[in-house]
Structures are given as C-alpha cells and as structure tokens.
Amino acid sequence: MISQLLFLLLLSTGIFFFARRIGVIRRNIKSGRAWDGSDRTSERWATMARVALGQGKMTTRPVAGVMHILIYAGFVIINIEILEILIDGLFGTHRVFAFLGPVYDFLIASFEWLAAGVILACVVFFVRRNGMAIARLASNDLKGWPSLDANIILVVEVLLMFAFLSMNAADAIAQSRGLEHYVTAGSFPVSSWLMPLYSGLSDAGVVAVERGMWWFHIAGVLAFLVYVPYSKHFHIILAFPNTYYSNLNPSGQMDNMAAVKKEVDLMMDPNADPFAAAPPSDEPPAPFGVKDAPDLTWKQLLEAYTCTECGRCTSECPANHTGKLLSPRKIMMSTRDRIEEIGQQREANGGKWEPDGKTLLGNWITEEELWACTSCQACVEACPINISPMGIILDMRRSLIMEDSKSPESITSMFNNIENNGAPWAFPAGSRGDWTQEV
C-alpha cells in the first residue's frame, strides 16, 4: 500500500512539472505574431504522417537515419510496457498483462530486441558525437550546454534500457525459482544474457534487484519526462505539430507582406487622399520584418522549440560550407534562447514583458550572418522535420532594410538601380530591348 502511494506521488509530481513546463512553452510560442495554418488539412495530416511518423526525410543520411529509426521505434513501442508499469504501480499488481499468454511473450520479446537496438544506436550516436570528427556534431554551435544536453539524453536512454533489461533478467530468475508474486510470463531473449549477473544472488537479492530496477526505470522515465521539454530532445513531441504546420508552398516562394501591399495599393490608387490621416488605432503599428523573437510568427517560434540541433541544415548551407559565419542551426538555437529569455522575464514581471534593450537581431544574430545567405533553401530541404531557418533570415533582412535602412553599399546601389532603371544594374531602361538588334 505504501509503495502504491509512493508511486502515485512520484507519478503526479512528474506529470505536474511536465505540464507546468508545457504551459510555459505554449505561452512563449503563442507570444508570436499570427499565422494561419488552418487550411489544406488533409495535405497537412499526410505531411505529418510521412515526415514525422514515417521518418521520411531521415534516411537521406543512411547511418544516422537507420540508427534514429531504431531509437524512434524502440521509444514508441516500448512505451506500451510503460502502460503495464503504470497499472502495476497504481494497483499493486505484478505483470498485469501476463494473462495475454503467448501474445505477452511476443510483446516482451520484441521490447527486449528493441531495447537492445536502442542501446546499440545510442552507443553509436555517442561515439559519433564524441569520438569522431563529424563536422556538424563537433561544431562550435554546440559548445557547452547543447553538447552536454545531447550526451545526457544518450546516457539516460542507455541507463533506462539497461534497467528495463535487468528488471526482466531478475524477474525471470525469480520466476524460475518459483518466488511468490512472480507469475511465469514473458519471453526474455535479450535479458537472458544478463541473468548470469544476478543468478548468484539470494532470493531476497534477486527480488531487490527486480524491484530496484523497476523503480529506477519508472522514476527515470518520469524524470526524463520533466527534462525533455527543457532540452533539444523536445522534438520527440513537437516534430508532430511542426510537420503538420509545414510550409506547403514552394520552398522558394516568399510571402507578400500584407502591410506593404496596403501601402503600395494606396500609392497606386489615383482616388486615394494623400493627406488623409491614418484611421485611429490603439495598437502601435507592427514593425516591418523581424527584429526580435516576438516579431516572429508563432509557427517560427514553434520551429525554434522543435529544432533538435542535428545540424543537417548547416552542413548543407553553401555559406557555412565555404567558411562564412552563417549557420542556419545557430539561427534556430538563438531564436529559442531569446524567446526563452523573454518568457522568463515576462513571468518574473507578472505576465507583462518590458523590452530589455536587447534584440534577437543584434545581440544574438549579426548582420554578417544574415547577408551571407543565398536563399538557396538547402537548409529547408535538409531539415528532417521541415523547419525553415531561411524564413527567419529573410524576415530579419526586411527589418534591416525597412526599419533601419541598413544595407551593404552595393545592395543600396542595386535598389537604386531597380528604382531608376528597372534593373539591378546601372543600364538605361531604354536599352533593354537592344539585344533584338543583335540577333
């Protein structure tokens, strides 16, 4: 009875902290500008099924892709076992699904094989991250916390799987000795390798290992649940909404800013009164483009929280490839850092955010990074969960130009040429058709 109460306490604590953190992230994401993703629902579901559920873009890099699918399948399927652990924990039963007989044996055996797969994949990932010079994983973008975060995730996953297998091994020994409560159930193809570790123990020792591992596993799972939304690992949840809200337009299509269209329409309208006052409004006019994280749409902020820092974008980026400062991954990481900071300040200030004199563009992301982008969309194509770092880059250029009139000199000349000659170069518009005389 006491252990059931303890379990209930542990479970509700885990869920409480998880839910509280989700609430914070939700508020932070919703502090972005409006964006409408309510259209084309069937196409959206199909994209989510293909890209997130089906891992459709992962295997473009075969080693990382296959290993990732192993962990993904393990995570999703082994979670069926969590259901049994929850019921057992709350009601004091033991292996409550054992009545399924051969089906149960099959399930447990497949969980064990998957657990072995997860351990293998995590070890490979750990070696790739720490022992091999893979550029995108050894990059400066990941110095400090991001790199530690990645290693924590891998180590915790190995520990959880090891606990799960040890629990099964001890259980199987207890079953074979006919100990009380230990019904004969399950098939243990992988954990049987661990049995020699525990078979020398007394009956009490075997039970202690089984119970200890059971508690360590579920407590670890709940701790991980609380950890995940503070980590890059949160992609395991956000990948689904993020791919649902994928950009379904051609990747090179930029939005036409509605606020600008209104101005241009007015300019072109011969009946418009050029001296008319703007209609009164309490809202300050929205800035053009993006200077700080709250100027982004909620979809872009969702992307920032979804990014798992794999760096496929950066390794495909032609600017980064040739040694420029720009790293699309860093654009996403900076965006998340900034909106997190604003969220914390807002919370500390009773829900209202007072500008703190810092901005995403300037304090986190520099003009040099923005001007290195060729808008080639390689980062968009490379992202396994359809994030667009390019969208944020181009939106920030809009702020540089339309709010601050800051551009490299040659870009200013290009603008002037288009304005005066209708071409980005200083050729007279009148000579545009001259080539026809040369044919």
Partner: protein, 261 residues
Amino acid sequence: MAEMTASGQTPDVLFWVGCAGSFDDRAKRITKAIARILHASETSFAVLGQEESCTGDPAKRAGNEFLYQMQAAQNIATLNGYGIKRIITGCPHCFNTLKNEYPELGGTYEVLHHTQFIRELIETGKLRMSGDTPFKGRRITFHDPCYLGRSNGEYLAPREVIAKLDAELLEMRRCKQNAMCCGAGGAQMFKEAESGDREVNHARTDQALETQPEVIATGCPFCNTMMTDGVKNAEQESNVIVKDIAELIAEAADLLDATTT
C-alpha cells in the same frame, strides 16, 4: 509586344527576358539562343522590350519588400494590360517570382522555365535535333538552379532536354534536391561575399569538375556567370565550357535560318 498589339495580333507566349538576359553580354547570348529556338519552332511570341522591368526578386530577397511590390504592381499592370496568358522565362528567379509570388498580387499566368518550354517543343515535334548532334557522346554535367529545382521541384525538364542531345549526362555528388547553390541567389550576385575560406562558386565548380565534364550545363544566367568564373578560377577554361541548355539546343537542333526578330 506593343507593335504586335498595335497590328491587332496576339502572340501565344510572352518571352520574359529578364534583366541579366537583357543587359549582361554573356546572358544576352542565352537570350538570343532562346529567341532562335522560338523562331525555329515557329512559336508565336513577343517580348515586352522597354516595358519589361525587374520582377523585384533581388530586392525582395534583400529585404526591400516595398521596392519589390512596386515592381510587381508595375509589371502586373503591363502584363494584364496586354492580356498575357502564357509566359516563358530565361531565368529561374523571374520564373519563381512570376509563377509563385505574383498571383496573390493580381498577376496569374501560366509560367514556364525555358527548359520546360523547349521540352514541350521537342515533344510536340516542333523542334527536331539533327541526326548527329555536336554533343553526341560528350560529357555534360548539369548544375541545378535553386529556384528551378528546390523551389519548384523541376529536376526533370532540363535533364530530359539534355538527353535529346545524345550526350552522356553526369550527375554531381550534390544534385537535384541536394544540389549546392552557385552562390548568386538571395541578392548575393549584387554584393561582395562575406568573409570566409573561399567563394561559393569555386566550391560548386569543384564539385562539377569532379565529374570530369566537357560541358557544364546551366539553366540560369546567374549560375552561368558563377560557374564560368569558377572554371576560370580553376584554370580549366580550355577544357570545360559553361553553356546554358538553350545554347546547347540551339547548336544541336535543325534550326531554320532565323536571322531577325
């Protein structure tokens, strides 16, 4: 276009030449190749001449939405004024802007990249290759323009057209969806690159040269400039030529004597 309208004619297609194709000496040769193909295939077409103006693509991607929308409004007024329905472009940037970004502003047309139109001409028998094309068996690699490929998913048309040359098509390590940019997009063409280890076009040209081509085929005047410069930088200009697909076709097809436009 103005002359045709004045004489009561309506062309089937409008050839949107683009700024590079109008003013840049190298790109003008591509424009002329497209014009020769259009003549040879007896396509009824027109150009806007002085009435054409920059689509606004480089301004938009450099952050100047105002300038872009002013250009768009002006061009859409011109195109709609002539009742244009079908446009072919010699530049993937114009193609992308006209096709994807103008409709919302009131300019909806059927827009084709020139490689798509050339494929159509070959398929409908309006354009025939000579029995022995000058490129038979030659090694050709194709550099995908970002705004044709990744932007608009068109990887096949340029390859199918190259296939008609009887040439050996070599794919680069990074091609189609994963193709690397030449370095000109997003208004980079009009500015110095940021500081780094090397130029994007030199890196991309190296990837092209890895296939040991005789010809690097392009479908964009800006890519053409960048790859030509890259080949010069690698001191390979005596071994490798950079040509637009339109130029290759114009050299290989049974073109009628097209002398004037």
